[in-house]
Amino acid sequence: MLFIKLFLSFIKIGFTSFGGISMIPLITDEMLSNGWMTTEEINDIVAIAEMTPGPLGLNCATYAGLKTAGFAGAVVANLGALMPAFTLCVAAAIFFEKFKKSHRMQQILSGVRPAAIGMVAGVIVSLSLSNYFADSSLDLKGVVIGAAMLPLLLKFKVSVPKVIGLSAALGLLLYGIL
């Protein structure tokens, strides 16, 4: 039963997401509403998915599958996330020449992209609340780390794995030693 639910969840996530980070709101939705994960674990997913090879979407499927139903769960979740590739994309491959010129997909994307940005912005707000205001008080150390990493990413274009390494070191220093 759990396997079917996982599979269906990731089919849903697969078909309604368009690449990378736009998957996060959908995954958050599915994981929290099914009670499969805590907000903390959603953070871990993003961190671990960004640190290991593989696309974010599949890594999220693997991690969520593992957490809820072990290795078999990971396989099932991956298959779910791959369903768009196995169906729609096969159709697009067969009718490739027609599809390449199709205008409809561009029209759809011109609405889906802003919709995804809105959802991601929503995730940013809700994750900020849970990450920096744990136990209803401001986690000052966390805010310091977050505020230090933002310009590194945006302005100095430091890569994500490096930022994760750096924030881990800061975490050891601020939460572990001090």
């Binding site: 690449g19 671990i48 593989g54 196995f86 992209r113 995804a116 990493m149 930022v163 572990g176």
Partner: protein, 189 residues
């Protein structure tokens, strides 16, 4: 018809590519470029870009879509499946091993401290990814309204993301049709 050997070769290629897919979809397109365009000449750079742009406009994970399109082109449907599955296996195994290792040490206080630090960096990481998404995402002025609408529905009313994406689909069709029809008289494309 594609031979068994051809399909196995594709599977092996993508198994290898899957081990090194850091940093999103374009890193694998770059790997495919050096293997198939420069080394084996099985596809031109332009055709590969066509595949990538179609893959990007389909739902799902972009790079597995690219893998399906390339595999299908090279060796039919079975070739496509071989590429996608080959690509998906290495990250799944690596991540499973890491997660297993992590679950054994996660209650260690030092690991917990490091993870608290990492969690604090997730919001900035998502923000920077979102900033990269913004480029070219707002084709017409009303697109800003779509973003505002999905943002509020998501955050304040907890509307399911599936509905929000469907709203995006409908709004995208309506808005583009409107602007394209209006601009037909004086449009320069």
């Amino acid at each position: 018809m594609a031979s068994k050997g051809q399909i196995l070769t594709l599977f092996g290629d993508f198994l290898k590519i899957g081990c090194f897919t850091f940093g999103g979809g374009w890193s694998i397109v770059a790997q495919m470029h050096s293997l198939y365009v420069e080394k084996r000449h099985t596809i031109t750079g332009e055709e590969l870009l066509d595949l990538a742009s179609v893959a990007k406009s389909l739902p799902g994970v972009m790079i597995t879509n690219v893998a399906m399109l390339y595999g299908h082109r090279a060796a039919g449907i079975l070739g496509g499946f071989a590429c996608v599955i080959g690509l998906a296996i290495p990250p799944m195994l690596i991540l499973s091993a890491i997660t297993f290792g992590y679950s054994m040490i996660e209650s260690n206080p030092w690991v917990m401290a490091a993870m608290s630090g990492i969690r604090a960096a997730i919001v900035p990481i998502i923000i920077s990814a979102a900033v990269n998404m913004i480029h070219g995402a707002f084709r017409f002025p009303p697109c800003y309204l779509i973003a505002l609408l999905t943002f509020s529905l998501y955050l304040f009313w907890g509307v399911s993301c599936v509905w929000l994406v469907l709203i995006g689909v409908a709004a995208g069709l309506l808005i583009s049709e409107f602007y394209e029809r209006r601009g037909k008289g004086n449009a320069v494309h």
